[in-house]
Symmetry: C2
Subunit: 224 residues, 2 copies
């Protein structure tokens, strides 16, 4: 199994559809394993990993079994190997070219988040229609007008568009993007986008997340 | 059922623990119902709602049954009533005082996101240790030094802290916060926090979300 995973970069295995719940947990495994690696820890048992991550050891084993297991019974997991395998499964062994659409505070925050580059997420351009922003530099990028977006995407082999624009304009921009080579939209606009199924959308609806927190706070109050 | 929900503001019902999966869907219902309301639509059937939201009608009915149903058989849901009930369940009929810890790009982005105020999320203060930021104004707030945080939280009846600081300092700040009246942490620091169970934590791990998108893009490529 291990060699099979290694040989395929863990990728072929994914074609058995793996639940989005499992996928959603992979980055968290990747993050914790990266920390263990940085601490110089070479091996870890599913039980130790379970204690750190506060998920059950059986959950961990189940999750990893989706990708061939990774573990040597009794010896635990090799941290660096597991870290790299999960990274490969996530596609972090490749670089991806991104553009940001919307050069407001949030767009700037993401453009300036250097950790993304370490992961191979390369911000190539940032776009906005605000005349005041056009031409200004954000990190190493000059803010460009929206009209240049489609050409820029083609010429710079952009894979992913990050939408940090208001709801009002998001639908039209998403439609434009769907006509390009863009394969993924990381959507911060507070609406669900209608795009062809070839285009993957990952939503970050911040208000939804805050409302969930509010609910849990108020619920807890009642229970005390 | 309806009156029971109305009478309790839908709140008592929640003490039967409701799965976080259902809770996580409430803000999305709230968002779509708000849009319907703004469009002047008064009634909607679970089927119509299902078509717009792209979830099954039975899922919708199941979710709503957690809170007493809301619906009149055959007549569909009253949009405004449902919108207000879900808002009340989420706790949006109350205001909440927030502080932002970390006045960088992301902290500024959140501070400037006016829609939060409409929902009753009131940003009262913003804190940072960067001498260059201290005293500068972000929206209507002066950036204050971290040392003032605990006093400020007490004197301004702060409920929620938004953590937009680097991983390195997040753990220590979370520990400080746990000693205050803070009931919720909206955590953008790229780590999981250890806080007492009275403090609710909602994580927004942006890298995790982007990695999930990358995975789905690369997986799709293989399937084509």
């Amino acid at each position: 199994m291990l060699s099979a995973v290694a040989a395929t970069g863990g990728n072929k295995l994914e074609n058995k559809e793996i639940s989005q719940a499992v996928i959603a947990r992979l980055p968290r495994y990747f993050r914790f394993l990266g920390e263990l690696k940085d601490e110089g820890i070479e091996r870890i048992s599913s039980q130790e990993l379970s204690d750190i991550m506060k998920v059950t050891a059986s959950q961990i084993r189940q999750d990893f079994n989706n990708f061939g297991g990774f573990g040597q019974q009794g010896y635990g997991y090799k941290v660096e190997y597991l870290y790299e395998e999960i990274g490969r499964i996530l596609g972090l062994d490749r670089t991806h070219n991104l553009i940001i659409i919307g050069a407001g505070n949030l767009g700037q925050a993401l453009a300036n988040y250097i950790n993304f580059e370490r992961r191979g997420f390369l911000f190539k351009g940032i776009f906005d229609n605000d005349p005041e922003l056009l031409g200004t530099k954000i990190r190493n990028m000059e803010v460009r007008p929206m009209e240049e977006m489609e050409t820029f995407v083609r010429e710079n082999e952009i894979d992913i568009a990050v939408l940090t624009i208001p709801k009002a304009s998001a639908a039209a921009v998403a439609e434009k993007l769907a006509g390009t080579r863009i394969r993924g939209i990381w959507n911060f606009a507070h609406m669900d986008l209608n795009v062809p199924r070839e285009v993957q959308v990952e939503n970050v609806h911040l208000s939804d997340s805050l409302m969930k927190l509010i609910y849990n706070i108020n619920k807890r109050d009642e229970n005390f």
